[in-house]
């Protein structure tokens, strides 16, 4: 895939706080890349550096192979959809959308045609003469998107564009945005703190924490094969179990944890026997038994809850670790406070933080 945007060793501090610590990434043409992380992790700063609204302390920004690190924001072929939409309150929808085109001195007929097309794309045809204060949150959102895409930018930056919308509208807009991005073929750099949103929409996800990328990969990679315990918890809501490797045989590590024995497939990085390791297991992959088998950890059932057709069983291991197991349906097979054994397939146990 051709690279359209590249960040090379970007650093940025505000006063004494280091917001970005050596950030590097290449973003492909037509890619939907999501920067996922909690608030304050530096994702908005990355976006502002790409847009030119903030200058990095170190590192370079390349757009389509050209170094734009020092370029003014109005000289970059990049447009932004702001978190609070930032629609011009004194202009109607049409003038808002046409603003970028008018500055480029586009022909009047072409402006009219492109504005109409953009409005149709975001399903707001006929709203030309409305003012921003006459629109609902979702409609403002669409206008903000139309105002950005009408300029055919090389890269579109979206800063938590759905953050202010209610859940139902957010789901709907997620689908629409994804469809729009496929249709236009524009590269999207999308910011969110919602892992579900990231997994639904992205081609690749860059999970951020305290100014660094913890992991960059496809949604499946990030979800199924987290590299760190942070990614496992933040993206997959995984359980973390601490233990010690006993032996490694045929690509499977046997691990002693909380007085039991479990197995995990060894992937790119090899642990050594006797090493302290952390295992990430997602709740849906945990199996429960009433009697001991060869592999498994003894645990006590603390609580059972039901939500959205899912049964969640809260367990406590002997070393105090809390583990959640979930399954579809509501068949209550176990008594509260009963003693159980938990286990999982070796390929569902992921060794993290290696």
């Amino acid at each position: 895939m051709d690279t359209i945007l590249e960040l090379r060793n970007i650093t940025k501090s505000f006063g004494k706080t280091e917001v970005l610590k050596d950030i590097s990434i290449q973003i492909g043409k037509g890619e939907f890349l999501t920067l996922l992380g909690p608030s304050g992790c530096g994702k908005t700063t990355i976006l502002r550096i790409i847009a030119g609204l903030e200058e990095p302390d170190g590192g370079r920004v390349f757009l389509n192979g050209v170094d734009v690190t020092e370029a003014e924001p109005n000289k970059r072929d990049v447009n932004t959809v702001f978190q609070n939409y930032a629609l011009f309150p004194h202009m109607n929808v049409e003038d808002n959308i046409a603003y970028g085109l008018r500055i480029r001195k586009t022909d009047k007929k072409e402006i009219a045609a492109r504005v109409a097309q953009a409005l149709e794309l975001v399903q707001l045809s006929g709203y030309n003469k409305r003012y921003p204060h006459e629109l609902s949150g979702g409609q403002k959102q669409r206008v903000a998107i139309a105002r950005a895409i009408v300029n055919n930018p090389k890269v579109l930056l979206l800063d938590e564009p759905l953050g202010a919308l209610d859940l139902q509208l957010r789901r709907q807009m997620q689908m629409e945005l994804k469809r729009l991005q496929k249709r236009l073929g524009i590269t999207f750099v999308y910011i969110t703190h919602d892992q579900e949103e990231a997994i639904n929409m992205s081609d690749r996800i860059a999970v951020m924490r305290d100014g660094v990328f913890e992991q960059i990969g496809t949604p499946a990679q990030v979800y199924d094969l987290p590299k760190t315990s942070y990614v496992a918890e933040f993206v997959g809501n995984a359980n973390l179990i601490h233990g010690r490797t006993i032996e490694i045989k045929d690509g499977v590590a046997s691990i002693e944890a909380a007085g039991g024995l479990v197995k995990a497939t060894v992937r790119d990085k090899q642990p050594v026997p006797g090493m302290e390791v952390t295992l990430a297991v997602r709740s849906e992959n945990i199996k429960l038994y009433t009697c001991s088998s060869q592999t498994g950890i003894k645990c006590r059932l603390k609580e059972i809850s039901f939500a959205g057709g899912m049964q969640k069983i809260f367990l406590q291991l002997e070393d105090g670790t809390e583990v959640v197991s979930s399954s579809l349906g509501m068949n209550l097979a176990f008594e509260p406070n009963s003693e159980l054994y938990m286990s999982f397939d070796a390929n569902h146990g992921v060794l993290v933080d290696l």
């Binding site: 447009n79 932004t80 702001f82 609070n84 930032a86 629609l87 309150p89 629109l135």
Partner: protein, 260 residues
């Protein structure tokens, strides 16, 4: 329960009467045919006729209007540029500079008047229209400055960033985004400045020349020689003008949507 709801209303009515009764009396007596203000001699426009035929009064009115328009105009430009510049500046001494800029409102007028007089005679400026315009403009600037500053503080910074992002240069952003959004504040600041200039007596007395009269000075000197109902007519006319200005300012402020 009833007393509770009635008492504030009575208080409000009392206040309104206290404020507007003198005004109403002045308006009523401007139509009084009798020369004595204690006697109602029937309805008449005669004082208005006399008012418009008094050439020195009309001259003073003309001067006041010229000074008002020029000084509020100058204050409008300087005050706006100052507020916009200060909003962008990242100075340590910003707070102090802003405080100094608004100080003229708090300094007693008599001191300002004396200072202006001393300064202008040092500069060897001929006392008259020029000194009046300069003096008025300088005490009018804080009104515009404060209004625009407050307005700028309420404008979302991301609007400017969005315009830059869409390709606008800094100058274009100012003309397309900032200026339209602060224009109601500029206009109301200028109207306030105009009103301040129009009714200023203290400072004007210090800095006016021997042959230049402003309307308030003229009225003041006439009062000393005896009140004629002509003054009532003049006050009514000025009241009408002010009313028109206020309604206009309100209309301009309301027409444009401020926030989205």
């Amino acid at each position: 329960m009833k007393n509770r709801t009635k008492l504030p209303n009575i208080y409000l009515a009392f206040l309104i009467i206290l404020m507007y009764l003198p005004v109403a009396v002045v308006i009523a007596y401007s139509f009084n045919a009798s020369r004595q203000s204690s006697v109602w001699g029937g309805f008449s426009f005669s004082w208005y006729k006399e008012l418009f035929s008094d050439r020195s009064l009309i001259e003073a009115l003309k001067n006041s209007l010229i000074i008002g328009v020029l000084s509020s105009g100058i204050a409008g430009v300087i005050g706006t540029l100052g507020a916009v510049g200060m909003a962008k500046a990242a100075l340590k001494s910003k707070g102090i500079i802003e405080y100094i800029s608004t100080l003229p409102i708090m300094i007693p007028e008599i001191i300002l008047g004396m200072v202006f007089m001393a300064y202008f005679s040092l500069m060897k400026l001929p006392f008259g229209m020029v000194t009046l315009v300069i003096g008025h403009a300088s005490f009018c600037i804080p009104y515009v400055f404060m209004m625009v500053k407050a307005r700028l503080a309420g404008i979302d910074k991301s609007l400017v960033e969005a315009a830059r992002d869409l390709g606008a240069s800094e100058t274009k952003v100012f003309l397309d985004i900032t200026l339209p959004l602060i224009s109601p504040a500029i206009i109301s600041g200028m109207l306030l400045a105009f009103a301040m200039s129009l009714d200023d007596v203290v400072i004007s007395i210090f800095i006016t020349g021997p042959r230049t009269n402003t309307l308030p000075i003229k009225i003041y000197t006439q009062l000393k020689t005896g009140v004629t109902p002509k003054i009532n007519a003049l006050c009514t006319m000025m009241l009408l003008c002010t009313l028109v200005l206020v309604v206009l300012a309100n209309f301009i402020g309301r027409k444009k949507p401020v926030k989205d």
